[in-house]
């Protein structure tokens, strides 16, 4: 399903990543499958567990695809929520090589 036209993609996360956003985030990720991806988390103000789930699942999928999946410029809220729910973002980034 991956489109071959671009080798890299950037996904800018919306500020509020709550339950309502999870499905659309999932859809966005699915459409970017197969490309190296950079996730811009600099605008995230609120992150819900459901979106975190999607992001983690994404990370795994990308890892399986052997593509890069990088979280860039994570905002404070993003980093702290990830920490709070017990997910190490470094580890997330580190895992993809």
């Amino acid at each position: 399903m991956a489109s071959k036209k671009a080798a890299n993609g950037t996904l800018k996360l919306s500020p509020i990543l709550d339950l309502n956003e999870a499905t659309s985030l999932h859809g966005k990720l699915m459409s970017m499958r197969g490309n190296n991806i950079t996730i811009d988390a600099s605008h995230v103000e609120r992150l819900g567990v459901q979106c975190a789930q999607v992001l983690i699942a994404g990370a795994r999928a990308w890892q399986a695809d052997k593509k890069t999946y990088t979280v860039e410029k994570s905002s404070d809220a993003f980093a702290k929520t990830m920490q709070l729910i017990g997910i190490d973002t470094d580890h997330l980034v580190a895992k993809e090589t």
Binding site: A22, M30, Q50, Q53, A57, I85
Partner: protein, 755 residues
Amino acid sequence: MDMNEIKEIFFQECEEQLAELESGLLKLNDGDRDPETVNAVFRAVHSIKGGAGAFGLDDLVAFAHVFETTLDCVRSNRLEPTQDVLKVMLKSADVLADLTNAARDGGCVDEARSRGLVKELEALANGEALVASAEAPKPTPKAAEPVQAAPAPTDESGFQPIPFSFDSFGDDEVAAEYGDTYEISFRPRRELFSKGNEAALLLRDLSRIGEVSINCDLDALPALESMDPEESYFSWKISLKTVKTEDDIRAVFEFAEWDCDLEVKAVEAASQAEELPMVPVPFDLSALDDVPAPAEESEPARAAAESGTAGEDAKMAAAAARVEKKESAAAAAAQTTAAAAAAAAQTTAAAAAAGQTIRVDLDRVDRLINLVGELVINQAMLSQSVIENDTTGTSSINMGLEELQQLTREIQDSVMAIRAQPVKPVFQRMSRIVREVADMVGKSIRLVTEGENTEVDKTVIDKLAEPLTHMIRNAVDHGIETPEKREAAGKDPEGTIKLTAKHRSGRILIELVDDGAGINRERVKQKAIDNDLIAPDANLTDEEIDNLIFAPGFSTADKISDISGRGVGMDVVKRSIQALGGRISISSRPGQGSTFTMSLPLTLAVLDGMVVTVAGQTLVVPLTAIVETLQPEASAIHSFGANQRLISIRNSFCPLVDVGRILNFRSAHANPMEGVALLVESEGGGQRALMVDAIQGQRQVVIKSLEANYTHVPGIAAATILGDGRVALILDVDAVVAASRGHSLKPEMSLAATG
């Protein structure tokens, strides 16, 4: 959605919570000791407090807090809910309602009263709590949070919204310097998220009550392509080191516990080290602390913190409150502190079974109802014109039309059902009135309600409250005797007022029964004579005397009290009931009490009627009023007096009323043999035979107000549009019957659209 709208939702929910609270308290009052009832009551107050905190309604929060503290004592079995305790609680519920109203509409509440109650509540809470605090000294000073149960408030209204969860500090080990370590396993279910809760926030709250190390279990997470973004896959293992008790920890999950698998267990200090998760994620307590809210924790505080950040978040607070409401409605038997997992599963099932609801603007519903009304008329017109043009009567069009008619009828019924609401809120308001008035007059009265789930049109409900209030006051003030008198009469010193609602033949019947002294007929009659309402030598039946109390300007009370008896009593009640198309009657047995019976239409929008012809005019007679129809025979008609006639029906005589003459459609008497007699029951209970020229048929008509479009016509309740497009008038049966008794139709005659 702006802040005011959210606030409006909050207040709407407050109303529901207050109703829940009151019914719960009343159940307790009746001896119900189901822990779930206590929990429901507790939750109601808790939710109000939480929401109020989010909107900065400090008075409300302060009072709710004290109330909650006391309730918590009941919940934890530290306080026995005796009658006295419940009396205070019911009063507190009233004050809470007042405070809510004051917060919404401005205005002020009786501060002395609420202050007094705050003291009483505290006394109750402390009375038992003293024991608890004796064995458990104040928590370690290093616990900076306001942990005390009721920290001897210097100013009742200035309190912080302290979560109840810290009230129960009956933990002997709190003195231990570092507290205990708990192993918490938390697995949210999908419902937790769909109800607007957020696991991250729960974790944050948890992190605030102690030192945590959170380990997220990602194993359940499926591959990206096969995952459902809204499903819940994560679960957590949390190791928490805190001075708080297990209950406090569970309290963090209070609003979510139905929707997650939660396990909290204390870990032996020795095994602490090895129990720590392998990958402890270091983190910083200030995470997500966008708002400085150090003293606030748990759900309500969380809501408060969120509302500070953005409207978006406040929406969530409202949503959380709504979730709470739904849960309490589910009322599943689940004890909060019991095996949470099993209980949660049970509750989830119950919650799923409870219907989903939406809030719709009343205007929209009304518009829909109006349109459906037009549809019904249109459908009737259509079928009429088809019938007129189709002589064979067997065409497929006819079949289709019949189906259409059925469908329209169904649509109409469904639309009406939207407006139908249980009478419960009105009844619940009454119990407060009984309490307050009984207190004022020093009587002890119990209100028993029955059939509160009987549904009736919202307009009817709204307009019912006022007359009902009046009647209840009357019953308390005049109906029920003082405890001494009751005892002297050999009755239970506690009076009983029974309020029942039921459906009966397409109408709602509301009965108000008191077991008081009944109507003093001698005095009523004397009073009526004094007030020139009846002639001194009038010979009245008991029933007629009883009904005199509905006469304008009538009051039997010896002295005028604040509560009732200002002479604008029952006649106003009667008029408002009649304005609703209802009837009211009274029956009374001396020494045993009185019964007021109100019969009201279920809806004010449609009516089943008999379409009749009178002197060339088409009239609609409400079907509910008609007992039977008959074709008079010459032998059955008897003349009586100058121009009265009677009809003999099964060996009893019944006055024959010529509708055409009463309404001035014709001046001469119609020949009874050429017409049809409709035997109707009038509000006084008597039967009359209304004479009409012919019966056209029976159909459902949509009521169109005559006043709104034209002006009031005596003897006519409303109008409607028939299938052929003509306007037909709906007969006000009671007015016509009254007119036949010799009173002429007066313009101020009340209406009874469906009477």
